[in-house]
């Protein structure tokens, strides 16, 4: 996973709540067996509308998505995170994320930042009025900065450490392999098994 320390970029203000992962990447894209090539599927249905914010020429190259509440609800598809990253987004800001989406994003180095809806409103107003306005997400300081805005955000220390160092979860877990083996040895024998080994 690519390490995340800080990122500065222009924004896409997405004034919609309850953006489910079916909207982020429709199901027919899920047939792919790779982690890349999902950029054209991102918000596919909405992008058919020329006025959709992602289609506006002034938003080209933007890398910070500022979304409404309950972003990433629904299906667990990690393809939603890959699609956002393949398109060029480095971070998503919202007042509330769905749990599974949030977990998936942090595992892939897409930083999801929770801010109060009033701050999100201010970021929308700023970046709608001035598409060149930049937003900085500083993970070291756990702060979002933009013109006239300094907002702290929370992220637990462990998740922050993993992100800032781009650490692989599986390698970290396998450092505790002995604990897993100990647990396995003590499991009750009535627990189900799919095959006899």
């Amino acid at each position: 996973m690519e390490a995340f320390t800080a990122h500065t970029g222009r924004a896409v203000p997405l004034r919609r709540s309850n953006v489910d992962t079916d909207q982020i990447i429709p199901a027919h894209w899920l047939k792919k067996v790779t982690r890349d090539g999902f950029e054209d599927g991102l918000f596919e249905a909405w992008r058919k509308d020329a006025d959709f914010v992602l289609n506006r020429p002034e938003r080209a190259g933007a890398s910070v998505l500022v979304a409404g509440p309950d972003f990433g609800t629904g299906s667990s598809r990690e393809h939603a995170v890959w699609a956002l990253q393949n398109f060029g987004f480095k971070t998503v800001i919202s007042s509330r994320f769905a749990d599974i989406f949030r977990g998936n994003s942090l595992k892939n180095g897409l930083l999801t930042v929770v801010l109060d809806q009033r701050v999100v409103d201010t970021l929308w107003e700023l970046t709608e009025a001035d598409p060149t306005a930049e937003i900085t997400v500083d993970l070291a300081k756990r702060q979002v900065l933009a013109e006239g805005i300094t907002a702290d955000f929370e992220l637990d220390e462990n998740a922050r450490w993993r992100l800032m160092n781009g650490l692989d979860d599986i390698s970290l877990t396998l450092q505790n392999e002995a604990d897993i083996a100990t647990y396995e040895a003590a499991r009750p024998s009535h627990k189900p098994r799919t095959i006899q080994v």
Partner: protein
């Protein structure tokens, strides 16, 4: 202080707990399907890692599989590649697989319970958000992303922060006309699509205790639609009776030991939930959705709501967008909404009891002219049981299409899709824009409402049928 059901199951699976770290949780059962696993197996290959516990892992094919002509090669080349990838991955790594054509194939969340693999007090994960279904057995079950699928394959554990707990207490008794689907839709409308975010839900109370296992699975299945990764119901005699004798249920002394443990899996009287919601079952009625998220629902007897009636600006905006997408007008009667397609199936309502319920309404009646009805059993076993009971004949005699098992039109990854602008009454779980096909419009309903809707051609409950019969002289 006492502990909740969720806390008990959680505590029993902690492999490692350390200050400042998420708990490392052991996973008892890992279910795989073709859509969210290929990149995870690739990751294992790149790192040269094996699957740690093949005996706790099982795969089936469901999302992509066709429900017609299953004996022929899969027409869509991209779907075919994905299914072939799963078959190769399972063969290479030694994972038990039930592919299309196998008698144990079906929707992953129907297969686990019917094999008896889903048991009380287990942790169950799958790269699918509807893994919450298995919570009906008092299992802690939740959907995970592909990175986590790889993590479980490699380590049989997951590092997880412990969620809060929420009690959803359903007091009283459900009226005879009200189903588990109506109840869960009403719960989601009440707490909202984000209401359960960060919580494990526990459904409890007299109305829940009376429910069958199938109905409990319908309830837990849609926990994710309220934002909760997991929903649970304490195991009881109903649970034990369902499990006893199934392929992977313990036997003999093991059964006794298991039941003794399972009986401890109840929230202690002095346990405290972080949040509690109380629902009065006696006030409920058949429930349908009118919008584009599962929280946008109302009793069937209501009208399409006026977005202006929402105080919250974001909800108002969402309702406006939803009505526009759904082609509905505020104030229109929900019962006047005409549908083109009726879908009975999915991990929400594709089990034998659901098919019996739909068939009991359709028996001796006809699907309305111009309406297409698809009945897709949740698994091959469900299909075989339905055939044994003659339900397939009831469906086909009514003019419905009896299909092979799979996810089908719930998410339209296979050819079973709505055309743009088409409207469905669907027993599935999500009414998102385009969920059942680009431009398709979905109303979530129970199997009974689906069947009555198929007969009348507009959203309806079985109670509407008797009136229609008298006035139109049908039958």
């Amino acid at each position: 202080m006492g502990r909740t059901l969720a806390e008990k199951v959680w505590d029993d699976h902690v492999v490692r707990r350390a200050e400042g770290e998420p708990d490392l949780l052991f996973i008892d059962l890992h279910l795989l399907h073709e859509v969210t696993s290929p990149q995870a197996f690739d990751g294992l290959r790149q790192a040269g890692r094996p699957v740690r516990r093949l005996d706790l892992t099982i795969a089936t094919e469901d999302h992509n599989t066709p429900t017609l002509d299953i004996d022929k090669p899969i027409a869509d080349p991209v779907s075919r590649v994905q299914l072939e990838t799963l078959r190769k991955n399972c063969a290479d790594f030694g994972v038990r697989l039930h592919p299309l054509g196998d008698v144990e194939q079906g929707v992953v969340h129907v297969v686990g319970p019917q094999l008896g693999l889903t048991q009380p007090g287990t942790t169950v994960v799958c790269g699918d958000s509807h893994t919450s279904t298995h919570g009906a057995f008092g299992a802690l079950a939740f959907g995970i992303g592909t990175s986590q699928v790889e993590h479980v394959l490699a380590t049989q554990t997951l590092p997880l922060a412990r969620p809060k707990t929420m009690a959803i207490t359903v007091e009283g008794e459900l009226p005879a006309t009200v189903t588990a689907k109506d109840l869960i839709l009403a719960i989601i409308a009440r707490i909202g699509t984000g209401g359960g975010q960060g919580y494990i839900l526990e459904y409890r109370g007299p109305a829940i205790e009376k429910l069958s296992m199938e109905a409990r699975m319908t309830i837990c299945n849609m926990s994710i639609e309220a934002g909760a990764r997991a929903g649970m119901i304490a195991p009881d005699r109903t649970t034990f009776d369902y499990l006893q004798g199934r392929d992977h249920a313990p036997v003999g002394e093991e059964w006794d030991a298991a039941v003794a443990y399972w009986k401890t899996l109840r929230t202690d009287d002095d346990a405290v939930f972080d949040a509690e919601v109380v629902i009065d079952a006696t006030e409920l009625a058949p429930f349908v959705t009118w919008g584009t998220n599962p929280g946008q629902g109302a009793p069937l007897s209501a009208d399409v709501p006026d977005p202006a009636s929402y105080e919250d600006a974001s909800e108002r905006h969402a309702a406006e967008k939803a009505l526009e997408y759904m082609g509905l007008t505020a104030g229109q009667r929900l019962r006047d909404i005409r549908v083109d397609t009726v879908f009975v199936g999915s991990c929400t309502n594709g089990r034998i009891e659901d098919l019996r319920n739909a068939a009991s309404i359709l028996d001796g009646r006809k699907v309305a002219d111009g309406v297409r009805m698809l009945v897709v059993p949740g698994s091959v076993r469900v299909a075989l049981q339905a055939v044994e009971e003659g339900l397939d004949k009831v469906f086909t005699a009514a003019g419905a299409e009896w299909r092979h098992a799979g996810c089908s039109m719930c998410l339209g990854m296979n050819p079973d899709q709505l055309a743009p602008g088409e409207r469905s009454a669907s027993t599935s779980n999500r009414n998102f824009e385009g969920r059942q096909g680009k431009g398709g419009r979905t109303h979530l309903v129970s199997p009974q409402v689906a069947a009555a809707t198929a007969v009348l051609g507009h959203l309806a409950s079985p109670a509407d049928l008797s009136d229609a019969l008298t006035s139109a002289g049908v039958r």
